[in-house]
Symmetry: C2
Subunit: 189 residues, 2 copies
């Protein structure tokens, strides 16, 4: 239980709104769903362990956002070419379910830690959708994992964390993947 004020003030002041921390999470490029990327996983764990004191958990709310890039031609998931609208609809639904399984892992950790949370999926280009959701939801803080790419690598691979730091107005916490956990190809995650 967190006491933020003298008891005599309790009737005068309103309960402070929880601090809303939005965490953008992505899937593993190596293992696919439902596994989270290394940087998402480490960013989430750090936030839970270092940013949210155990005795003040109810003062925070974690907002877990997962962006799915639409598989527009629908060919990734096909054994053969389907022709009906329903087939595409089914594939979208399957993709969404996979995304929810990814989020479920994070939600379970929040529940274990007794930290209130929400989660949802958005479809679109990752960088842009994160920025849009920040504008829509108005969290207090945005947390993004980072692969920690070198300057040369960044020239070829756009980074989500860099884009968010530049384009959102709220504070952004960039948590770099531990170098010893980087895959052979550092652009993987």
């Amino acid at each position: 239980m967190c006491f933020r004020m003298e008891e005599s003030e309790a009737t005068v002041q309103e309960q402070r709104a929880p601090i809303k921390i939005m965490i953008a999470v992505s899937k593993s490029t190596l293992k696919g769903y439902p596994h989270p990327s290394i940087s998402s996983s480490q960013a989430f764990d750090w936030t839970l362990q270092k940013l949210i004191p155990q005795s003040c958990r109810e003062d925070y709310q974690l907002l877990l956002l997962h962006i799915q890039v639409p598989d527009e031609d629908g060919l990734d998931d096909m054994d053969s070419i389907y022709a009906t609208a329903n087939d595409f609809k089914d594939m979208k639904q399957k993709e969404k379910i996979r995304g929810l399984h990814l989020l479920k892992e994070f939600v379970n950790k929040c529940n274990l830690a007794q930290v209130p949370c929400k989660c949802w999926i958005k479809e679109g280009a990752v960088k842009e959708e994160i920025c849009k959701e920040v504008k829509r939801v108005h969290p207090d803080l945005l947390v993004v994992g980072s692969r920690g790419l070198s300057s040369i690598q960044r020239m070829f691979i756009g980074t989500v964390s860099e884009h968010c730091v530049k384009h959102v107005d709220i504070p952004v916490l960039v948590i770099k993947r531990r170098p010893e956990d980087a895959p052979d190809d550092p652009s993987d995650d």
Copy 2:
């Protein structure tokens, strides 16, 4: 008082070390010492108000770092040309005292908020010194203010926040200056 564990575990587990948050603070380019830059001031206030719950203040430690770029030719502070080594030594001392007055403002705020803090000054190039201090001190988190410059402006003006995000290994929290508080020349702060 923050209770982090059941009383029966208290004897078994060690007291958790405080979370060390390093905040890089700079002087105002418009008003000079002892006034802090707008972005430093807002980054500090946000950290104190949003990141450190009042009931868990003793679980945190703020490390306030101010970097002074050496005035090498000593001409900024002169009415006439001095020739002795002592004159240069005096000027360095005066500069250091001004820096301490800047830090004093932040320390006073920490004391009022009852958040443990330390502060110190380092001399050198800002970006590099911050990174060196992070490596030396090993805080849990680095907080930097940002002027929120556009891409074009960034091409001409190196930004400290961008450099820190790229080069330090620990999590970096970038807190942008509020657009409505930006000076006429946005590169000022």
